[in-house]
Symmetry: C2
Subunit: 704 residues, 2 copies
């Protein structure tokens, strides 16, 4: 071991600290540790969200949305409705959460909707087996230095959530994984059904569950929905509503909860041509795709991206080179537009194809829209081609045909056995049971009919046996059967269904991470980072159409004569459905704007002393902090158009004169400096020097 | 018995039929039997609503909303949000449905949220005791001819839902009520808890319920909400979300269901002055009130109405003559405006005050907004002053103070015992436990402190005993206590809460009943009613802002060159959030309008052959069937303003030229005649004659 001089050690430490900071700065903001802590403070402090039933110690996996969170959820739902339902004229359905057992038996949820659970036998605590395995693997990955071992560990990790109980058990034994905190041995994994069970009605014998997804409510209504759509296919049905999953051990805050708002689309198509009528609108879009082949090679965490172009054309409809069919590709594109339009940064978004064994046995192709957050890449939207599985399952279980019809290109001639009955004779012979007999004769198979005809021809009598077991003696004079031909112009089929399924709560959280910003105005004189600087601006750059509150009305003077301006602006904005916050506090104006920035209010209308004279107010935009001065009467329509994205802030800047606040010189210099400092992430070492010089120069300048 | 001539008997029968029809016609439309049947057909046929899980035989009390119903529910919620939350800047909260047992134990729901149930022991069927009693009483009421007996029966009926098990049992015995269908004897009534029970988490020991109301989610968040509101009171919190009640025997279709959308407001006030800052805005409104005194006299069914004016002023705030306080009165008025603005007919709306024993023990005053429907008067909105009950209950159970603070008019001087400690001595003496000792000393009662001082003075030592049982020897040098005075400028109090609670599903159904119309165009030549007339128009006169779809786009020509007009209009309307339906069928134009009328689409834009030439289209209003012709470019803003109620149809008529369809003469005559016939309800006998003459005259006119 060589010893080093103490001074050198100090230098090295400084360099290391600086390098660590540079690494931190080069990450997207939402991946920086400090950002996350600050975001958590804001989300809790401004009551975007809080643990539910906190005063009773809380319940894991349940959260309440406070005023800004709740308003934003409503905006997100409205946006989803516009983007998907209105845009395409989808049918919207509102089903119930309570679901009788039979429905979920048919769909397979009662048998299979479970996670594998391991138990710490010493204290009864339960863990989700795959998550425990994944965490253990991650820890090993960090320790390991052998590239081959790392590769193999990664492969296991990717497949963890699709393993059988035996496979997981083997891995647990192999890696010697033990219960967290107690260190005790773990039980063999057992499936735990994730549905909340209850009892419907007073008798106590009708088992019900809270729906784990909204989709089943659409499938069981298929007949009515198709009829509503005049029997035409393809068509899409959407549903926004709650889903419930009794997670074994919910963690990761808002990302794994027990009650969550979903938005699902079931787009029914003819399986022989899964075209989408509006595909051409999105065909030139580039999407960040991560097909299954690349995942096994590079590991999921590497986020292999393939920016590809949907172009290859095949006979009988467009077909994309990676994605199974046109409708699935169409929805990936629409989801991309939805998420980026909601404030998700494109570089933190990818579409990951499911691995073969990750998919349900009936699925044709699945792609998850994953968003990068401080918790890693998180599945926020699933896109699955569920084929005809669900409709077939419900057809079998309910004995109700759930099919659509397609016209044949040319009519087909089919053989059948024609039944000719003499109702005048059957009626008196069977009286009340005549109907049953007639139906029984019709329902016979073609072979049975021809056999019966032979029997009738030879003996003049045959025995009709119904499925109920009843038997009727049928005479020659009642009926005759004969082979015939029929022209068929259409045939029935079970539609395939393509399902984009959105977890709105997860998306909401991801938006918070992706839009949270901290801008610093001032650096310390020595050029070092100033983590606890008071002159930082924390704000959410929510797209205006999603912001929980659209406008802050700020009053400068507290004289009574100004109050009616507030009422006027507030009423006009409310009438247009724009939510406003009124601030008539006496705080320093900058502090008041900061308060609204912190909850992402995109616009502020300030009524100042001049307003009385010229009936003009200032309008401030959040992200740029720029202000214009405009007639008070223009405010409602300008803000409404800004919020509905039919007007840009740039256009507003062109139309109205810019308003300059009389800020102290010191602040303006600080801001200019902040701007300089903001660019250092890329060219950090040099910028540090420049910043230092800038500080010195500006200080000198100030003294002159 | 006197015999009558056959001809006379025929005449009498006709007169009776005519009288019955007149009685029917004099009722509000929604009370007419035929209307109800037709409405049910439309609601089911157009898939506004359907029984849930129908293909599996359905589940009583669960319904699904189809596309028009679901869209309308979304509109109703948005309207509620605008009318209440935006209007007053209420805080909106989004809580969870899953609720842990402790919370609902504290609120009293686990113990008391139940209905009395009687059982048919022969087949296990369960009935709601009060409903069974009410039905039996109603049947007796119809039979009875004795006015005194009727009065007494009515009194019992009114109180049925507030009776104890013994009282109901006595009534059942007294009236000899038996189980429907089987006729068997009924069990003694037992309480059945209406909450759906489930288990949260994998261990199975955490009992949870589905919330029976959204209110508790607000109360348990009170501290955060008050903090969010900067500690200021009064303030209101609102929540829209699902509630669940495991009804014993759900009937009455959509009016008594097991899962329902609620919208609740908890308005927190200082109990010493329940003023509302915006009361003056509604003070001159006349409301149909039914105070408790009048109900016992005339019976609930009579719908005693008192149109009164809120005016009496009392010292210390406005006080209304019947309603307990200003805030409660304010919300009755706002609810009245909400409901009438949603299409509820004012004559079918009343506010019924709860009877003394109907109210919960803690409530100060309760008023139900009841809407008259074909099922009778139905409670759709409850308005209750719940006093400080809930916050106090949760304070006790959670050990968390849920209070607000008020400034005292003049500061108060209060005695207290001042504790002076010597931290320098306590620290080393108790080390890690010093903090605990210091808190223990502060937490002592004033009396204990003075006693301790005495002990210290005499012996130099006293034993501090903590609530945990630990004891510490405190020396004279550590602490001294002395009586002192303190100026107090504010005091804490438990706010009272006033709760308007809306059943949105019930309101939706009531809107359907109140807005459904049948207009007849033609009468039969003999002047008799024509119940199955094809020339009838069935439509919902939904207020445009609530209509499920705002605009129908109707295309006359099917040539390709007209299609882009549809795309253009559709995109422009969608961008403004207006839902549209496109009709490019080849049906007769009248039939196409009729289809949209049947689902209440308020406006239709028709692109006709002229459009290509003049870029103008016709805009049709649903209720009047009137049409104007206007530039296509004007359509989006005109329709948007019509839907947001900032423009009236009358104003549109003034601005744009009226468009006349070239209807066949016969149809116009029929319409004119329909108008005549529509007025007959009031002056029926005469009108019948006039109608007959009119038919004859018109027939003659046509022949000329």
């Amino acid at each position: 071991m060589s010893s080093i001089r103490p001074e050198a050690a100090g230098e090295l430490e400084e360099t290391a600290a600086s390098l660590r900071a540079d690494v931190e700065d080069s990450k997207p903001p939402y991946l920086r540790k400090r950002w996350k802590k600050e975001l958590e403070n804001v989300l809790k402090g401004k009551f975007f969200v809080a643990p539910a039933f906190e005063i009773y110690g809380g319940v894991a996996g349940l959260f309440d949305l406070g005023p800004p969170g709740c308003a934003m959820k409503a905006q997100l739902e409205a946006y989803w409705r516009r983007h998907f339902i209105l845009h395409e004229g989808m049918l919207e359905l509102g089903g119930t959460c309570l679901t009788p057992e039979r429905v979920l038996e048919a769909s397979g949820h009662v048998e299979r909707f479970s996670d594998l659970m391991v138990k710490d036998e010493t204290n009864g605590r339960c863990f989700r087996a795959d998550k425990l395995l994944e965490e253990a693997l991650e820890a090993r990955l960090k320790e390991s230095t052998d590239e081959e071992e790392k590769k193999s560990l990664r492969r296991v990790a990717i497949q963890a959530d699709a393993m059988t109980a035996q496979e997981i058990h083997d891995q647990i034994t192999h890696l010697d994984i033990r219960a967290p905190s107690s260190g005790a041995a773990l039980s063999f994994p057992v499936p735990f059904n994730l549905m909340f069970k209850t009892s419907i009605g007073p008798q106590g014998n009708a088992v019900g569950y809270l729906r784990p997804e909204t989709a089943q409510g659409i499938f069981v209504n298929f007949r009515r929905l198709l009829e509503y759509n005049n029997g035409k296919i393809p068509f899409a049905v959407a549903q926004i509503g709650l889903g419930f999953r009794n997670e074994i051990a919910p963690r990761q805050g808002l990302l794994r909860v027990r009650e969550f708002q979903m938005a699902e689309i079931e787009h029914f198509v003819d399986p022989i041509d899964k075209f989408h009528p509006r595909f051409t609108e999105v065909k030139d879009l580039c999407l960040p795709l991560s097909p299954r082949e690349t995942q096994m090679e590079e590991g999921c965490e590497c986020g292999a991206r393939l920016v590809a172009r949907r172009s290859r054309q095949e006979k009988g409809g467009l077909r994309w080179c990676v994605i199974d069919n046109e409708t699935l590709a169409y929805f990936l594109a629409r989801t991309f537009l939805f998420l980026t339009g909601a404030g998700i940064r494109p570089e933190g978004l990818r579409f990951r194809q499911h691995l073969e064994r990750e998919m349900a046995h009936y699925a044709t192709d699945c792609w998850d829209a994953e968003i990068e957050t401080s918790f890693g890449w998180v599945e926020c939207v699933g896109h699955a081609d569920r084929s005809a599985y669900d409709l077939s399952a419900h057809t079998r279980a309910s004995n109700t045909e759930l099919v659509a019809h397609r016209r044949l290109e040319k009519p087909r001639i089919v053989d059948f056995v024609k039944v000719s009955v003499d109702k005048k004779k059957i009626g008196p012979a069977f009286k009340q049971e005549a109907e049953k007999v007639l139906k029984g004769l019709e329902d016979m198979s073609d072979n049975d009919k021809l056999d019966a005809e032979k029997t009738l021809a030879s003996t003049g009598l045959f025995n009709l046996k119904l499925s109920t077991g009843e038997t009727y003696a049928i005479k020659r004079e009642f009926v005759s059967f004969e082979s015939a031909e029929r022209k068929v112009t259409e045939e029935s089929f079970v539609p395939s269904v393509i399902e984009p399924s959105f977890g709105l709560g997860r998306i909401l959280y991801a938006i918070w991470e992706h839009t949270f910003n901290i801008d610093s105005f001032r650096a310390r004189a020595d050029g070092k980072r100033t983590d606890s600087d008071e002159n930082e601006r924390r704000y959410f750059s929510f797209p205006p159409h999603l912001a929980p509150f659209k406008v802050a009305i700020v009053l400068i003077s507290h004289q009574e004569e100004f109050r009616h301006f507030v009422t006027e602006v507030h009423s006009a904005l409310s009438a247009l459905g724009l939510s406003t916050l009124v601030d008539s506090s006496s705080a320093y104006i900058g502090r008041r704007y900061a308060r609204f920035d912190a909850i992402g209010v995109p616009f502020a209308v300030t009524i100042d002393l001049e307003t009385k004279r010229d009936l003009r107010v200032t309008l401030r935009e959040r992200d740029s902090s720029e202000q214009v001065r405009l007639p008070m009467a223009d405010v409602p329509s300008v803000v409404a158009r800004l919020c509905s994205r039919s007007l840009s802030w740039e256009a507003v800047l062109k139309k109205y004169p810019k308003f300059r606040t009389r800020q102290p010189v010191g602040r303006r210099i600080r801001e200019a400096l902040g701007l300089v400092l903001d660019h250092r992430s890329s060219v950090c070492a040099m910028t540090a020097a420049v910043a230092f010089m800038a500080v010195v120069t500006l200080r000198l300048a100030r003294r002159l």
